[in-house]
Symmetry: C2
């Protein structure tokens, strides 16, 4: 968590963190600032010191709301620097950054860089800064950065925020179940009271309203994928697809706090009216693995061990898995879990060799648990996903419970 | 526009464009692919050739929907590469990218890089790729990239998409005006029928529902800033603030197509019930400059010329401007305009020296026109903003018209 950062920075010999970009939908920045309408900013965090936020004058009220000391980017008079640089925008940008870093006292040592911005701009700008400030080493951590490591372990306030958004998500799921159960079937297709088929687009438009009513964002949309479409894990569901009685629908929903805060992540697979024997059998296998892993998962073990265990259980039940063939498109084709926070997929990761992989499950981690089986040629996929917090006992606590039922009965 | 790219690439001696990241909320990728649930992808565009999209197996349906040739990232068996790399994730990531680029035939020459991703990861990964593929020069364009240049000029389909979202935005603005006009004042404060003050948060919750009803996204929220808060251009408006009769409210709203497509951008300043003389005088100055610039703006002139003209007109009316003092917080404190497209702020830019600045206004550009005046100490700001398309005649065509009135009369 945040309080680990000075020690983590020391271990990796980092003198400063430089975080670029907006305080919206930009996890490294939002982690420190919270969500604010501050754009194209720079947050400088020297080891063991309070952060300093550079932002535009026009956004000074929003910048002040972060509670950090602030400096105005506008005061650097970019237009003058541009003139000094003979209208070379790239050079002027680097020179302005050089002056900001100099004023912040970051001109030598090692500084790690974070924040969402254009990859080419980052490469160009940071390369030029390395020339302008030759005593400063810019560190670009590709993986396992001090920030991703700190962020993986949530403090109590973070857990409560993720729990709150996950709870709201389960409420929306309940509204969807209720909406579907109140429709009727006509020739095996779900229709509204006027006899018009309920499409995936119709369901999603309801979902979007219910998300907006709660003041949440849904930037990546919702997976509502019936039949064969649910057989490919990330198929979103075709807007015009209709819902057939008995056909499994993979419903994976992941709204986040407005402006780019903490995410939720939740999946159920539903059959409307009834389940076929084939769907029920697939469900039973996924449910068995879900129940088993929820009971077995514990802290201080390599995450990859639980992925291996999931593969083992699915294999015992006759399913192909990524353990035998990493490129399989049928059976169990993905990871059991991922960290959940300001990114919808963050540390820890559940891949790699169960004997050597680096990521261990720790108390304070918030992760998904999401076993699934995929058979597009049989016209179905099946996934159950909950978000859990690894509590003080080292065991998973489901953040927001919701019935695991496969079948949504139709009331009429 | 897109069709300019091969020539632009040739001029700058670029052999390939490498676009990283998601096909969601990532303008460089969405520009080619459209919005799809494809994440952590790589699009390779060799000069004059059809793009090739690398993406995860789990998202193969969504990748196929882009219409591009696709390759599965999964087939590169990252886990094996990780093992070969002694669990060095950073090295393994670079080696996998090396193999993908080799298969795409991009191992030498000059390749420009784009796409939103973590700045540090980009810097680290691209630095390592430069070592692994020494004949390939990675080009990080900080400004005026071939992509921003191509994207600035919109083709007919793009103009229609921006027009459509801008039109929906004006419809929402109309709903807000109608909602406000139906409330009544109590001791100078707008209240609902139960006598409860209407807060900024209440208005924004309505706006969010109306945005969701239209299937649009609103990732950065809405500026609805009454009184002194409107005197700082990007203050969002405090949630608990009440609305006072006669007090100017800066209302700047900018939803975008769902999943990260084209943006709208629109501002009106409103006084509920009536305007004070001071507010009316400020409005008249902004309106005069708006009308003048809308009539004067034309293609094939430096954009900075129109910014200088705006400053000149405001100065004549006795207002401080950024021309005399780039750091001023009162009077005219920002740019007249910015390009509007897949980014809410994109090329062309209206800053710099009117005699030497690089950006010219061109037919096909879509820009905002948004003069404003800011006097936080006087308790008010004033801005009018429309989005315009520079049409075949070289003149601005307002994409979606909406009344410019300052006063929203209260019906009761």
């Amino acid at each position: 968590m945040k309080s680990d950062l000075p020690a983590l920075m020391k271990t990796r010999n980092l003198d400063a963190l430089l975080i670029f970009g907006d305080a919206l939908h930009n996890p490294p920045m939002v982690y420190f600032t919270g969500v604010h309408h501050v754009t194209e900013a720079l947050l400088v965090i020297k080891r063991g010191e309070e952060p300093l936020l550079f932002s535009h004058n026009m956004e000074r009220d929003e910048a002040a709301a972060t509670g950090f000391a602030t400096r105005s980017v506008t005061d650097y008079r970019f237009r003058d620097i541009l003139k000094e640089s003979n209208d070379d925008f790239a050079l002027a940008s680097a020179r302005m950054l050089q002056r900001m870093l100099t004023d912040a006292g970051v001109t030598k040592g090692r500084a790690a860089v974070y924040g969402k911005r254009d990859a080419g701009q980052a490469f160009g700008l940071l390369g030029t800064i390395t020339e302008l400030l030759p005593e400063l080493e810019i560190v670009g951590e590709i993986h396992d950065s001090v920030l991703t490591e700190a962020r993986a372990t949530k403090d109590a306030a973070e857990v409560e925020r993720i729990r709150a958004v996950q709870k709201q998500t389960t409420e929306i799921v309940g509204q969807v179940a209720d909406f579907l159960s109140r429709q009727r079937a006509n020739d095996g297709v779900l229709v509204d009271k006027d006899g018009k088929p309920i499409t995936v687009a119709k369901v999603k438009s309801k979902i979007n309203l219910w998300i907006a009513e709660r003041g949440l964002d849904n930037p990546e949309g919702t997976i509502f994928a019936p039949g064969a479409e649910g057989g490919v894990p990330h198929s979103m569901g075709s807007p015009d697809a209709v819902l057939r009685v008995g056909e499994p629908i993979v419903f994976d929903i992941f709204p986040k706090e407005a402006g780019g805060g903490y995410w939720s992540d939740f999946t159920r697979t539903w059959c409307l009216g009834y389940a076929t024997d084939a769907a029920q059998a697939l469900y039973d296998d996924v449910r068995f693995v879900y129940d088993t892993l929820i009971s077995e998962i514990h802290a201080d073990e390599r995450c990859a061990v639980f992925q291996a265990r999931t593969c083992e259980l699915f294999k015992q039940r006759g399913h192909p898995t990524v353990n035998e063939d990493p490129t399989t498109n049928v059976g169990y084709v993905h990871s059991l879990a991922h960290g959940l926070g300001l990114d919808v997929h963050e540390s820890p990761g559940f891949y790699g060799d169960p004997k050597t992989a680096k990521d261990f499950l720790r108390r304070g981690h918030v992760i998904t648990v999401e076993p699934g089986l995929y058979y597009p040629e049989r016209g179905m996929g099946m996934r159950i996903e909950d978000a859990v917090h690894i509590g003080p006992e080292g065991k998973p606590e489901i953040l927001a419970t919701y019935p695991l039922d496969l079948v949504i009965p139709l009331k009429s």
